[in-house]
Amino acid sequence: MAVQPKKNAMPVQEPAVRARNFKEVALGYSAEIAVAEAGRCLNCKNRPCVEGCPVNIAIPDFISRIKAGDFEGAYDMISQSSSFPAVCGRVCPQETQCEGKCTLGIKFEPVGIGRLERFVADYHNAHFKGEVKSPSPNGKKVAVIGSGPSGLTCAGDLAKRGYKVTVFEALHLAGGVLVYGIPEFRLPKNIVKKEIETLGKYGVDIQTNVVVGKTLTVDELFEQGYEAVYIGSGAGLPRFMGIPGESLKGVYSANEFLTRSNLMKAYSPDCRTPIMHARNVAVVGGGNVAMDAARTALRLGAENVYIVYRRSMEELPARKEEVEHAEEEGIKFEILRNPVEIIGYNNPEDRRDVKNGFVTGIKVRKCELGEPDEKGRRRPVEIAGSEYVIDVDCVIMAIGTSPNPLIKSTTEGLDVNSHGGIIADEKTGATSKAGVFAGGDAVTGAATVILAMGAGKVAAKAIDEYISSKQTNY
């Protein structure tokens, strides 16, 4: 039988409609489409997709269960490796991971693994009525700092092994970047809530409003009887470019803009959180966060939203689907442009003019691509004299973050690298301080949800081994 060359299309909200609402863009496969898509899997011997997955989900096995109509069986298969399939199916960069390695992808479009994963998770969440089996407790306590994807994965894996896990979260709501960063239209918050509730059933306790490094220190956690600590505190301070005008009114870091809209619910007209409803917005950067900020600004009512990125479309680090969705929605890509100044309104005649200090434009310089840098990406080279101004009233900086100083500054013996990231063994997450493990953005700097989950998983195993070996030493 001939293989269907293209993936089964994902049903989506129409671009013109979705550009003005915060509901989820991709609607998900039906059971029928899922079975058809599963049928495209060649079930090849090498299983390169499994290698491509940071948490090594047994992809061909769950796909063959879908093919057989055993959706719950498929879910069980995935949940052996991943704690949050409904999240990963939506936000993983599959094109560079599992799907990037798919054998079918050599000649045709790869199997829609992410879409299938999402289908299975959504099916389970909608239909599963049984109770989760709580593991028998082993009497050991572990503390996890941060309730983002890394911390929750680590907590879940340890709880399933019988540990009593407490997660400490600085904000008032658990979920980390899944709730403050990724918008509703890409990852509905009730999905995150459901995944966190499931962890609760495994006995994971989440304490919000505790800033480790301030409210409690890592050393105090050990004094309280925790035998190991996992730091998954995420990325920290937003980066700015250091160009003139970054303190003008209307300049946001993507973290602030997205936190206002997502966590603080400024997207809802009933909410009291202030956010700028700008008409013309420039988002500086080309990653997923930039796409999220741009599409959020559009949904808040902007007429023109520009992505200002210094390389070309080829180098955009964002997930391919997000770039496609952004383009369909009318986001304009000002590629090969580097901002040199943000321009503000200034009325020298009247210092009390209420418009003073608000953004009116962003001056950008054209670039061309030069030699590849150490990562193999072609370096942008600015073209002298090519500056021009894009008229905007809001600028959002989405150019990454640098590590948060709170934990390292209050934890003696915890080594950090020259960028301030915590130094952790890639294979175990072990840090320079005994009993302290770390992973996710706190170690790597801004990366993806799935890499953070992978690090949490690796550390959970290492923490289990660490605590068990301490016992046998007695």
């Binding site: 409003n209 920290g236 009114k249 870091s253 973290n255 709170l406």
Partner: protein, 280 residues
């Protein structure tokens, strides 16, 4: 949920509350702040710690009723609860090496200045305090300041209490009369702190100011609280809230503070209308 164990009206627009938050009470030092949310879906607002009682596990906050959130907070009574209360955030005020200090407080900023004055007194330092208010009705914490100050000067804009004038007048007199302060610590409206710095700088008296910019998470994630200090970008939540007054770009900070002025006005009007309706 965090219980309001004590509530007291200090003047018509300023309220004091003791909130039960034992973890925060154990750690908080003068100069640090907390972030609270009154209710679900509420804003996160930063308030500087005005004192704490380690024994009873309570943290004292003093706030001025300025916008929607503080109106809602003020509507809560003793025995009721607020949703969230997190801290202590920021760095404590530096007290090392200070033998003689002048504490300058303006309006509700006096609530934050008080624990700093009390801490310095406790450390055996000579403390002169200058506190300023618009008028007699707005004077707060007079007794408390008296208790921890070797010299207390109260100023009102209209002369209805204490001396008439701005806080910088007695500060300048003191410096000129030869009071050798190791540090002047100013806490109050931005414009007051700007003028305190303008007063101390010519005499090169080291001056610390406590900045209270717009903030969301308060832990170094959002960058909303950025300031320019010594030509560099600083984040008030993790690098401050205290900074070297000589280095702070006050004009920029004042401009940034007005970003949501329209929104705040609308909120205040909406809340007032709501209360009017309820009253009717």
């Amino acid at each position: 949920m965090y219980k309001i164990v004590n509530k007291k009206q200090l003047n018509p627009t300023v309220t004091m509350m003791d909130i039960y938050a034992p973890l925060v009470a154990q750690k908080a030092l003068a100069g640090q702040f907390i972030i609270l949310r009154v209710d679900e879906d509420g804003e996160r607002i930063p308030l500087t710690v005005a004192g704490c009682d380690k024994q009873n596990g309570t943290v004292k906050i003093i706030f001025q009723i300025v916008g929607g959130t503080t109106i809602r907070l003020n509507a809560k009574e003793q025995g009721e609860y607020i949703s969230d209360f997190v801290g202590p955030l920021g760095r404590p005020t530096k007290t090392d090496g200070i033998k003689k200090a002048c504490i300058v407080g303006g309006g509700v900023g006096c609530a934050i200045a008080l624990p700093v004055a009390a801490r310095l007194k406790e450390l055996g330092c000579e403390v002169h305090s200058i506190i300023g208010f618009r008028n007699k009705d707005l004077v707060i914490l007079e007794e408390e300041f008296s208790a921890c100050s070797d010299r207390l000067t109260i100023m009102t804009d209209d002369g209805s209490y204490g001396r008439q004038g701005v806080v910088t007048a007695p500060l300048k007199e003191a410096i000129e009369s030869g009071e050798n302060y190791d540090e002047v610590i100013a806490i109050g409206p931005l414009v007051m702190m700007k003028f305190v710095v303008a007063t101390t700088k010519p005499y090169n008296v080291p001056t610390t100011v406590s900045m209270n910019p717009i903030m969301i998470d308060g832990t170094g994630m959002c960058g909303g609280c950025r300031l320019t200090v010594g030509g560099k970008m600083k984040f008030a939540c993790v690098d401050g809230p205290d900074f070297d007054g000589f280095e702070v770009d006050f004009d920029e900070a004042m401009q940034r503070a007005s970003m949501y002025a329209d929104f705040e006005r609308a909120e205040r009007e909406a809340s007032c209308n709501l209360f009017k309706k309820e009253a009717q």
